[in-house]
């Protein structure tokens, strides 16, 4: 059952340059997630992955950002709600875990006070009940000594602990959808795997839909059912996770996979990296936005933006925005050794 469906979402920022041309950060993005399903959204900085989620939650600054398209959630179109109705959706309907836990938490409030606030304000909890519920949530996210932690301030916790607090806050009102925006990027590798496992377990236990945003394909491999790869504001490939790893079709997806420093392959002298940089959103290249960095670019790539079309002879749900990709599986070099 689909819980969140986004159709033809566009975000344009006005007034960001002298010419007055709108800065389009999200260009025609559509996706959906079902209850209990997890979707990974992968792309480099500036590809629009966070902007998409902020637009869904309507957390972009109201002046300047122009959002078009539809966001269906729980029988409502979120783009048509009043700010007051929207506030009711955030937290109870869709929870958000942001990347930087230190700036997402209020430094002057104790963990307990900021966790209890929405419970008391929206759900009618008494202070005592809210405190008990918060302790329960901190237990759930594996924070040792939950009761004492409620009296701590954010700066007294380590990065991994703060991220756990954010996750506890995001799930405190039992949202149907949890959006985790680079939840582990600021964390050490050892803590990263713990936080990923935690998010994965909570999704299964609470039957939440999960949207995991990251720049690291290695992170999403183990915890997502489906992946959408974004580049320059567009989804360039979407597929079930195993299909994407077995047969990456878009040249960008392949390049992203090649750039992961692998621990299960022989050591190489030079790490593969994608040459160049993502395009300037204010002046995207004509045609396919990946063309300047694409190893397989042709003259035709400049003519028009290719459509996101299903791959023939592929797994259902595998679509790619590149007409020149080989219809046959990409081959052994992109498969894991054990697959």
């Amino acid at each position: 059952m689909t819980v969140l469906e986004v159709e033809h979402l566009r975000v344009a920022h006005r007034g960001h340059n002298q010419a007055g041309t709108p800065l389009e950060t999200v260009r025609d993005v559509s996706f959906s997630v079902a209850a209990g399903e997890s979707l990974g959204v992968v792309g480099e900085s500036g590809c629009g992955k966070s902007q998409t989620m902020l637009a869904v939650l309507r957390m972009l600054a109201p002046t300047g950002a122009e959002i078009t398209g539809r966001v269906h959630f729980d029988g409502k179109d979120l783009t048509a709600l009043t700010p007051r109705q929207m506030r009711a959706v955030r937290g109870s309907g869709i929870g958000l875990v942001s990347q930087d836990a230190l700036s997402a938490l209020n430094p002057a409030m104790t963990i307990g006070a900021q966790m209890a606030e929405p419970l008391i304000h929206y759900d009618g909890f008494s202070r005592r009940d809210a405190a008990a519920r918060c302790a329960e949530l901190l237990d759930l996210v594996g924070l040792p000594g939950a009761r004492e932690r409620l009296r701590s301030h954010p700066h007294e916790l380590s990065g991994g602990m703060r991220q756990r607090v954010l996750i506890a806050m995001a799930i405190s009102r039992e949202p149907q959808v949890l959006i985790a925006d680079e939840p582990t990027t600021a964390l050490d590798v050892t803590i990263q795997s713990q936080v990923l496992q935690l998010i994965d377990r909570l999704r299964k236990d609470l039957r939440m839909a999960l949207i995991l945003i990251t720049h690291d394909l290695g992170v999403v491999a183990g915890v997502t059912d489906r992946i959408a790869v974004m580049y320059a504001g567009r989804i360039v490939e979407t597929a079930p996770t195993t299909a994407l790893f077995d047969h990456p079709a878009h040249p960008y997806t392949r390049a992203l996979m090649d750039s992961i420093p692998r621990m299960d392959r022989p050591r190489v002298e030079y790490l593969p990296a994608i040459p160049g940089f993502p395009p300037d959103p204010a002046a995207p290249p004509p045609g396919c936005a990946f063309r300047p960095r694409c190893p397989a670019a042709r003259a035709e790539c400049e003519d028009s933006v290719p459509g996101l079309l299903p791959l023939t002879s592929a797994v259902p749900g595998h679509a790619v925005r590149c007409p020149f990709t080989a219809p046959v599986p990409a081959g052994a070099d992109h498969r894991g050794e054990r697959s």
Binding site: S45, G218, P261, D264, L271
Partner: protein
């Protein structure tokens, strides 16, 4: 090349003795910070950030310190460029004591540092060109009339197009900013550069570019690097020698291939196991959540092994005294500090036959250890 914990290591070249092939030698380095509390900011304790670390960085090599937050890796790196208060120990850079070099003010000419966040370390109100020119004129490395050429040369070395020279840091992408920061460090023609988590904030797709750049610089110029990171997958591709730190001490140190193919310390093994495998079918996928103990409090160092609270193999002996540095059989310069380095059960669990990244389930559950650590808890 050698490295060890608190006491002098057993491998060749005792710390502090300089050979011409060494860029930096560190012997029993300790960095302590005062802990101040109350309104009067009275000193009420000492944080032992680095607590007796010895290693050498051979000339034209890339040595990596890997560890998590609070392991003392950054403090160690900063100490080598004179940015951490050294409590005791000897550091020499190209054969001369750090203190002496600092007194005569020539430390910046020898050793430079590139920080993790170039946004914070580059002046937002100066263009890249102005920033590099300033360094050149302060250190008088190039005559004024040749400064323009030198800037172009430095930008070319780090792979930045010349037209980017007149941009401000905010007009560059993350990878470009990091390249500019490296160009600025190179402007003084240092012999030694500390790179503190310089790829951690970058996209995976860009990390490779910066890693390859450092390798090129090492090949083309007489410069050695101390690379500081928490990400084993990057470390594996860049290092000649790897030093694993935890709680202010060196846990394991050895040639890169050796440490990755045959990790001998439980902490190294845990670090390796934590690297996500980009393969949806990889075994040992998320199931239970194991909460590792928090890193040891630097203000109150544990007696015994610093890793004892998170170690699946910890026994009584680990709580009693610090593990003696031992030399691992097999490769030269592979040392470790672990009481159970020779215990058969532990060695089997850390065996290279069970490569941790492909099978994290062999990360020795507590039951396999001689005595499970009571602090290791499992979340509900």
């Amino acid at each position: 090349m050698n490295a060890a914990g608190a006491s002098p290591p057993a491998t060749p070249g005792p710390p502090g003795t300089h050979t011409d092939s060494d860029a930096v030698t560190v012997a029993d380095l300790r960095v302590h910070f005062p802990i101040r509390t109350g309104v009067l900011r009275r000193v009420t304790g000492t944080a032992h950030a680095v607590d007796g670390v010895s290693f050498t960085v051979p000339a034209r090599s890339i040595v990596t310190i890997v560890g998590e937050s609070g392991s003392g890796k950054t403090t160690t790196g900063r100490a080598l460029v004179g940015l951490s208060p050294i409590a005791s120990g000897r550091v020499s850079v190209h054969g001369r004591a750090l203190e002496e070099i600092r007194r005569e003010g020539s430390l910046p000419r020898l050793a430079q540092i590139v920080h993790q966040d170039p946004y914070a370390s580059l002046n937002p109100r100066m263009t890249i060109r102005a920033m590099i020119r300033e360094v050149i004129s302060v250190h008088r490395t190039t005559p004024r009339e040749k400064a323009g050429e030198r800037v172009a040369e430095l930008l070319a070395q780090v792979g930045l197009r010349t037209e980017l020279a007149d941009r401000y840091p905010h007009e560059l992408s993350g990878g470009q900013r990091q390249r500019a920061a490296i160009a600025r460090a190179l402007a003084v023609e240092p012999r030694f550069i500390v790179c503190d988590e310089i790829v951690s904030a970058l996209d995976v797709s860009i990390q490779g570019q910066i890693v390859n750049l450092l390798k090129d610089l090492r090949r083309d110029q007489d410069v050695s690097f101390l690379f500081i990171s928490h990400d084993m997958s990057v470390v594996r591709h860049i290092s000649d020698h790897v030093i694993v730190m935890y709680g202010g001490l060196i846990m394991e140190s050895g040639p890169c291939d050796e440490v990755f193919s045959a990790p001998r310390h439980p902490y190294t093994h845990a670090l390796l196991a934590a690297v996500p495998v980009p393969d949806p079918r990889a075994p040992g996928r998320p199931g239970e959540v194991r909460t590792r103990a928090e890193p040891p409090d630097p203000a109150d160092p544990l007696p015994g092994c610093r890793f004892q609270r998170s170690c699946p193999f910890a026994t009584e002996v680990c709580r009693e005294g610090p593990p003696p540095p031992t030399t691992a059989a097999g490769a030269a310069g592979h040392t470790l500090a672990c009481h159970h380095a020779g215990t058969p059960g532990v060695r089997a669990a850390l065996s290279p036959k069970n490569p941790p990244p492909t099978n994290p389930s062999t990360e020795a559950p507590a039951t396999e250890g001689p005595s499970p650590s009571p602090e290791r808890t499992t979340a509900p």
